[in-house]
Amino acid sequence: MDLNTALRELRLLDYLRLLWGDAPWVEPVLDLISIITVSTFCLLIVIFLIWLERKVIARMQDRIGPNRVGGKFGLLQTVADVLKLLTKEAITPVGADWVAYNLAPFLIVMTALLMWAVMPFAPTWIGVDLNIAVFYVLSISSVSVVCLLLAGWGSNNKYALLGAFRAVAQLVSYEVPMVLSLIVPIILARSMSLIGISEAQVLPFALLVPVSAVIFYISALAETGRTPFDLLEAESEIVAGFHVEYGGMKFGMFFLAEFISTLFMSSLFATIYLGGYRFVLGELFNPNYTTGNLAGILIFFIKTFLVYFVFIWIRATFPRIRIDQMLNFNWKFLVPWTLVLVLVVALLDRLVADSGWTVRTLAHLSSNIVIALIALGFARRRAAREKLFEEEFGVAEEIARPMILGSDGHDDHEHDHETHGQPAPAHD
Amino acid sequence: MIPLSWYLIVSACLFCIGLYGVMARRNAVAMLMAVELTLNAVNINLIAFWRYNNPGEPIGVAWAIFVLTVAAAEAAVGLALIISIYRQRDSVVAEELDILKY
């Protein structure tokens, strides 16, 4: 392999491996090179993501968005913002827990970067092809909950602590439907490795199990704390949530981690439900088609950014939900129906495992549609009942229940005031 | 390579530290944390024996997972008890919870 083929097929690491031979220092150096490349890429693309988000939201709200710094499109706006954050003084507030306060921003960026280790960008572009990659991602993302708690506690500020409590409640509860909905593609692919899942998708799993895809998407929204689940940083209620005491680049690191993990969730969705680096149309029309590295990475990023665009779209259009709505929606709607979905998919896939892809797709798709219709029917009946209650008593049921039963214990007073004081958005 | 005895020694040390914590701390939450340490020590033992004696069969890992399950259940119930006691007695110091003596 000469340099030209290596460049054309994007297999530079293999080329370096050939060039340097098999001395004991080669593999660690190559690992280091790939780690530095991927993490630098993730950190730098955030600059672009922030610009994209501001621009797209501005367009959706009929504004222009950033348009001064760096030419007509404001391309350098985020660079200027980052420079501003970097030049600010790094302070630790008096009374803050020094270790926890300073550890949290670093740890949260670290967990956001660690998840990329198992992401297949292209057929041979992957850090480690773990056979438990999905599980690894879930366990790393559960560590990021700890960071929020560290930040909230370490700041020694009641708003930060309240924000951290909310964040932990939200992240821990939405982890459950996320894990359960990820079990479905794992069952279909018979593998937990992301490469294995990509290779198993003759058709994208979003076509086979759309309900699982939607549930995963909703819980990914909640896990990254984006609208409509951004009540962990609801400005009007708890100032800014767990990072209210942070300034300068320490605040910037929370921001960074949020964007990196959002991009990661989009790419995870693209890999697990949309086939990742595989070009499905090409494979359908030409059975001998295989995706090369260059095509693979292009397709991967096109899919990822399509998913990411929907994230931005949702942010621009949805109102924030209340905390009781968030928890009720999770525990009373998402979790039970995801359990039903997992059971049905497991049984059905056992029955149709030996049939062709057409039968399998049709079976799963129809069962998914049936489950979705039944679940939506239940949700609709419940919504109608709640609306009736609201019309009769002039107040939503969730707000009224604590009033009828009296306060639920001395520990929950702050929480009660929050839910009472806040205007109730439209019920779905 | 690392001999099996190293893992066993580390595990024994962790177990004894946890044991000391359970016996010597006053705060019930701290005692619970020490219990978690001892359970971790047990798990190190299980996984080390599995790796060195019978890596072809998943039995060692399976038992480690059962220990993990029990640890999770124990933490949940234990902390719920501690919070309930704190509501009643305004204290989580184990020595002061002596109402059954009288």
Binding site: D97, V99, A100, I132, Y136, S139, I140, V145, V146, W153, L405, D408, D411 | M1, I2, P3, L4, S5, Y7, V10, A12, C13, L14, C16, I17, G18, Y20, G21, M23, R25, R26, V29, A30, M33, E36, L37, N40, N43, R51, P55, E57, P58, I59, A62, I65, F66, L68, T69, V70, A71, A72, A76, V77, L79, A80, L81, I83, Y86, S91, V92
Partner: protein, 179 residues
């Protein structure tokens, strides 16, 4: 490899000692997380990536957070200046130390400490490639571990319901008090 092992176990043990000796409970919980992380690294050294990930998910992601929540809910006690230890700390130190000596002696009787003597190397790495598949099969086949597996799930359910009932404030009693 041996150096790595020594570093990891030193971190684990030192932070475990700090867990049982530090006065600030929140810091103790942080050290406990570090200790759990060290144990996860030990699992990774033992080529059990699955156990390492489970350790992260369950111990750091769930149990530590529960413990921190409990610390925060009972936090008025953290400002106490009295000793974190009770009156029997000397005795319990002696008991733990002698237990350690006892276990250590027994271990060293059977498994020598010196890598050269012990024939220390574990069985070949290739033997442990497919643990997760094997685990899945073992947990669901009737002649293997299906009964303990189901019992564990029942145990978790019981613990879930039980801890909710124990920790929930008594709403109805309070309403009666007020009326």
């Amino acid at each position: 490899m041996q150096i790595l092992f020594i570093i990891i176990s030193a971190i684990t043990l030192v932070s475990a000692v700090l867990v049982v000796s530090v006065r600030n409970l929140f810091h103790a919980a942080l050290y406990m997380m570090l200790s759990f992380l060290g144990v996860a690294a030990l699992y990774a050294l033992l080529e059990s990536g699955f156990m390492a990930a489970t350790q992260l998910l369950v111990y750091i992601g769930a149990i530590s957070i529960l413990v921190i929540f409990a610390i925060m809910m009972t936090r008025r006690l953290m400002q106490t200046t009295e000793s974190p230890f009770n009156s029997q700390w000397g005795m319990s130190g002696f008991v733990s130390a002698s237990l350690f000596v006892l276990i250590g002696a027994i271990v060293l009787q059977v498994y020598p400490l010196d890598p050269a003597v012990a024939g220390g190397a574990p069985p070949a790495e290739e033997l442990v490639t497919n643990t997760v598949n094997q685990l899945g099969v073992a947990f669901t086949s009737a002649d293997q571990l299906v009964l303990p597996f189901e019992l564990a799930s029942v145990l978790l359910l019981v613990a879930l319901v039980g801890s909710i009932i124990i920790a929930r404030p008594d709403v109805e009693a309070e309403v009666e008090d007020e009326s």
